[in-house]
Symmetry: C2
Subunit: 159 residues, 2 copies
């Protein structure tokens, strides 16, 4: 497997993973809206954000990828005054393609993300998972994460 920063050509595959966790959608059928282009460009150009993909080695190439995307996640590196001034890494948008579950790809994805964050000097990696997703909770606990916090969300209306 190859774990690398997503490029614009991976965007349809990433949108397919995000759009439906339980079915395999054809990336070619995904509408890529102007809002997706803008958000992807924002992630790509931000030194503290990375959209990362896991791809099959045999179809990826050295020259910028293009392999079959089987998983993704976003890392945000957050500067802060605590923890001796170390950044913390926030994980969002973790997905493994529905037909590739049970191969340990999710664990590999998270291991690579933690390694990447550690290599950068982060003191902590954190994420939230919907309370309904109990299998995901066991998964994160098996990986060594402590379920120590309550996660709160508030949707904001348009100004």
């Amino acid at each position: 497997m190859i774990f690398r920063i997503a490029t614009r050509r991976d965007l349809p595959a990433v949108l397919a993973l995000l759009a439906d966790e339980d079915r395999v959608l054809d990336p070619a059928s995904m509408p890529v809206g102007e809002e997706h282009e803008r958000a992807f460009a924002a992630i790509e150009s931000d030194a503290r954000n990375e959209m990362l993909v896991l791809t099959d080695t045999d179809t990826d190439t050295e020259a910028g990828g293009g392999g079959t995307v089987v998983g993704c996640l976003q890392l945000t590196y957050i500067p802060g005054l605590g923890q001796g001034g170390q950044e913390r890494a926030l994980v969002e948008a973790v997905r493994v393609r529905a037909d590739r579950r049970g191969e340990g790809l999710g664990a590999e994805l998270m291991r690579l993300a933690a390694e990447r964050a550690r290599g950068r000097g982060c003191g902590l990696i954190q994420l939230t998972s919907n309370k309904r997703r109990t299998a995901a909770h066991r998964f994160y606990e098996r990986l060594g994460f402590a379920r120590s916090h309550e996660g709160f969300k508030l949707p904001l209306d348009r100004p």
Copy 2:
């Protein structure tokens, strides 16, 4: 009250709030380490991070502040492909000075943070709170936050 972006001169007061939630520490007695300087500069220079302080109006000034800091929080604006490409706002390091609790300053601080995030175009504001802090959980729920997620953390060793 004034709600504004913290400047370098607020750093000792912010560190005093972060160092001990239950006691009022004298900002002048706070050691400001090189790691704090570096982290504060990283926050200050990042377009998607803001350290915000709530100060007493009567001691603050138009010219860059300097008033008594009674509360703080950090906002991180995270670009993402979901939610129509809107950013989400992450809240960290929420503190109200121990001797100023019970005046509604925490609610005011969170209201101003949500208003700021909404004004910027964020679709969501989110935070995590340690499971032991049950009073804080009721506080966030009163403010309209849904306790919908489990929060996971994993400390990372130095590389």
